[in-house]
Symmetry: D2
Subunit: 363 residues, 4 copies
């Protein structure tokens, strides 16, 4: 298990889907940052299941508790432990599935790697539920980034074959928390609801694409050659269950472009050097160039589906079938967008600290 992320802003994750709690320890947060449970609660609430028909009926209160590292409303420089207790746990559905690995899930690999000792209930350590901890860490990271005016934002740009139209950043910012799809294109969002509803009705699920943005990022974040901004962001984003692809700027479209098209020309604006296009997604040589960081994340359809699927009984080694009961989302994308923001924020914080752009004490 490698449950820690970051070098100077280090996040350590713990907890399981059906265990006592889900939590996180943040080590390296500068002292003096105002941080309250309500700050973190707000982010955790954004990750909660949305309207019926899209998300899981599991409804956790998810009340955030700060266990350490904050005193008189400010961070102390000591490790910050954040935790939510698991309450609405129903493990009954999982007993019968103990020996039947769910296709698309980690049940099989976890069983082999941990010799059958893994907590299989609700996916245990591999459940999307553990990302509550990361969102809590992301909330602290975002507050820290806000001291240097960096903003992180993620929104749904595609669900199945429905793609959102590109919107201006202000519209994205306004719309994203206003609809359960976290989609800036409200018309597309309605169509996405239908697509998800249809899949759910057929005992199935759908995937989609999230775009993550980081604005006002100073020049110089990222460290060649093995800690590039792309590489570290990708590592953090691939931690999110169901992510299968990560691309920056023009992404895979670059493979079809000429150099003359793809290169972003330099120009001056207000005495500063900028690029006229942003095919690089704000990153050159693994280092932020001052333009918006743009990343796109491919999310697979939720593997938990009620349709019958072929599997193997790991105890008897005989082929079998399985219909995933439990409670689950027909589409995880909108909720994953909140986690994308968190992982981006945590990674950028670490780089900002490494680059000395955030001081050790916030005043």
């Amino acid at each position: 298990m490698s449950s820690s992320l970051g070098k100077l802003f280090m996040v350590t994750s713990f907890g399981e889907s059906h265990g006592r709690c889900v939590g996180v320890v943040i080590d390296g947060c500068p002292a003096g940052l105002p941080l309250a449970e309500t700050d973190i609660q707000k982010e955790v609430d954004r990750r909660r299941p949305a309207a019926a028909g899209i998300s899981t009926p599991r409804q956790e209160e998810d009340k955030v508790e700060i266990l350490s590292g904050v005193f008189n409303g400010r961070t102390t420089g000591a490790p910050i432990c954040l935790l939510v207790w698991n309450k609405d746990v129903d493990s009954s559905a999982y007993d019968e599935m103990r020996w039947l690995p769910r296709p698309g899930h980690a049940d099989f690999t976890a069983f082999v790697k941990y010799g059958g000792f893994n907590d299989y209930r609700g996916g245990g350590r591999f459940s999307g539920r553990v990302t509550v901890g990361w969102v809590m860490a992301g909330a602290a990271a975002r507050k820290l980034l806000s001291t240097i005016n960096v903003e992180v934002l993620a929104h749904t740009v595609a669900i199945g074959s429905v793609s959102a139209e590109a919107k201006a950043i202000d519209e994205v910012r306004q719309n994203v928390d206003r609809n359960p799809l976290r989609c800036a294109d409200l018309k597309a969002a309605e169509e996405m609801v239908r697509v998800i509803g249809k899949a759910r009705g057929e005992g199935d699920s759908v995937g989609g694409t999230i775009e993550g943005l980081a604005l006002n990022v100073p020049i110089g974040l990222g460290e060649p050659v093995f800690a590039t901004l792309e590489g570290e962001l990708a590592r953090a984003l691939f931690a999110i269950p169901a992510v299968k692809g990560v691309e920056f700027g023009a992404g895979s479209d670059v493979t079809k472009m000429r150099g003359s098209e793809n290169n972003d020309p330099f120009a001056t604006r207000d005495g500063k050097i900028v690029t006229l296009t942003n095919n690089a997604g704000g990153i050159l040589g693994g280092i932020s160039n001052g333009m918006p960081i743009v990343v796109r994340v491919a999310v697979k359809p939720t593997p938990s589906i009620s349709r019958e699927q072929p599997t193997v009984n790991m105890q008897t080694m005989t082929e079998a079938t399985l219909s995933v009961k439990g409670r689950h989302d027909a589409c995880i994308v909108p909720r994953a967008a909140v986690v994308v923001e968190a992982m981006m924020a945590v990674t950028l914080c670490d780089f900002a600290l490494r680059a000395g752009l955030i001081p050790g004490v916030i005043k």
Copy 2:
């Protein structure tokens, strides 16, 4: 600078394009592995510029030297320093470009991050040339992986708008070293040569896609939640200059699939559990599942083009134009494929050591 990669098999990179040498230190390689300069030379030679018209005319002898860690033909357990000297260095073209950052390159971000003290000649630390060191490390990693029968293989699957047809693994293995494009579809390869030649003729460049494969990977490599196999491979692959996207298995296609299509059904074959499809690219929950690891890497068109491009003089802060002279590849994809293999091998080695699948002494 974060020039080290890996936890137990740690690779530290050093050297610049126009400095004295390019090298690497491997720390954590088990003792007893037979390792000769010829083993490593073979891999470095595969990375060298190919036929005229595709690659740079810079022709380095690139003679591999083992400086430490090998005694009587076997690794000793001590750090292995590997090095090639830079000889065919021509920095003349770069003097006039000192203040003119090349679009698509790291010149601008490096200048800002390092306060103008960066070695700008030939891209310095950001040049593709530094990947010679990684290929040397990859050569050692591949020998180590071969002790547990793991094979790593990368091939070109698209250049510009030309896509290769899917080929069986044996055909890939056979064809890939036989044509300068490292493409298993020999017919497509011919077309790719034409596409590259056309771009070069127009003072331009093209990008493409590389597929990396790892075969016979044991179940259990990868560590949730923040050191997933996807995440660590992606981090290593994004270190390669020009990589802008990384995806696994069905990749971004998953966004359009239903769960019932995307989930790989489990079955038994020869008493072992396998999946009938491999949309997951051999990875479930961040852990290898015994199926082939499949990764696709999007490579942007070489930013060095002889066409005139807009830029800014960083000294005078006035807008200017630039035509990259120097020597460079019109398409970096086939050479990058060798680096993809190296980065995959290094990452898998590290995980195999973490999982205890390679012993501390090879006998």
Copy 3:
């Protein structure tokens, strides 16, 4: 803050003296290890304040809770979060001392480093209380080490000017938990009680020396050149508040020995190579040699004393005097011995995992 220790068996500490709790996350513990709260409680209880007159009157129940990583009584391979709640907290004494740094404590350096935002109550993050978390981690580490028969043991060998006579290992093992001084020489222990009592009576405190032993350690733990067994043990031991010296085997006596005296001659016993003496303390070239690991730790007198001491008011920058009220130990040595065991166990576990001597799954 660098609150994590270890590479494969990673321990992350959190909590403060007067905060809500003290805890620890263990990441990398192999799956399958039987682990119950009672196992850990036993070690935590050994660390609790001893008989009146020696230790602090603060009496915490210190009930251990396992929050994650254990399922059906065995470790799952997931991170293990262990926690005790702080209950008997009395911060009243600290308010008046807020601006008066206690000599010998971290109050001054913490104030400067964290810009005054540190939790100063009871020493906050720098209090010996945080070692409860480390003892919990040590309990898990000791269980893990016991699967390869490694035993860790620490005992008091000197308090002030009273030194214990050397005792055979069996006698050490028997006596150490039987007297509040954790001293194998019961006669010396009585004298130590008197020395401590006298100091306390005079509003003062005393220091002492702890010897740590690790038995049945396999050959090969420790990694040259920068992760030697001595170096990593020392780093872990210097984390314990009040430790000012660490030495191995003959320790500082080696400075007065000839090579011919100090070198431990090799011989064979039962077909195995051993050394006839153990001046090296079981470590050659930073690697365990199969003999007992012997380390001695110098512990300073508790800086909290009720005698008046000169200090400076950090707010007014005027000189002042201070008499530490609060509740504290007149001698921390016996309790620190339990923490020495924990830190040794944690460090040895990490090395045993790195060396592949403990498997990823315990069966």
Copy 4:
């Protein structure tokens, strides 16, 4: 092998006693630092064998080469590879000793750990010769520290039973490079020469004690709880072959002191808070307090002695005797002092960077 030290100023060591070279890679050195081969040569020369009768007759030219990371006389921010070639290598003496581990050396533990594949010639990776690399890294670190006026200094305070008298810092600074013993007490130094000569005459060796000092260290270096200044310095110092004890300030004397004696009282001087004594060795709570850092290092007598010693033939498993021929020092202490300085400098640099006290670009 864990051959890297440091988090932001990371030093990776490579090379063996009788291999091709000894070297180091420094990663994370800020850009813009003036650094020439002569700067580093000066430090390496200080480490070279001293007058006949004290040190080994092996005389390496040890000409320093900068292989990367420096451009136009200044560091670029890229990794700095530094190297000296081994030239005066005579391995003949070691062939006959291949199966006979030298008492007090790592021959036995290296043989077992690396399955007999270790380079045994001259101690290979475990030889004091590898510290040439560390001294090169230390030279860069010292230059970097000098930009914030931090000075590091180590001197011999005891050889065998001869102890130097305490001298004022100016006298230490003046005398230390003037006599082959690196002892500030010139009279004691003469006696030390005699003691070493006598031991050598009897085919034996002697140990001693080094005191390391760091002056003008800003308040705030060191990170609780597991990266204390003491812990990290100790880890670095225990890497030096032959070091068996490390203590800070009053060191093991604290065990016999009362709290009222040991606590350093705070006072104000020139508007700054200082301590009136320095029993803490400049460190409180693992963090520098602005007073001089004082560390004492116990060095064992060189294990290589020409006297006959009992050992075991590892091939035949029969007892045997051995007389170490080769070339070696009768007392390693004065040369080790230079390495103590290097390790202190490297560690302090890392902390100064972590604390943001040295910027990413030196102007």
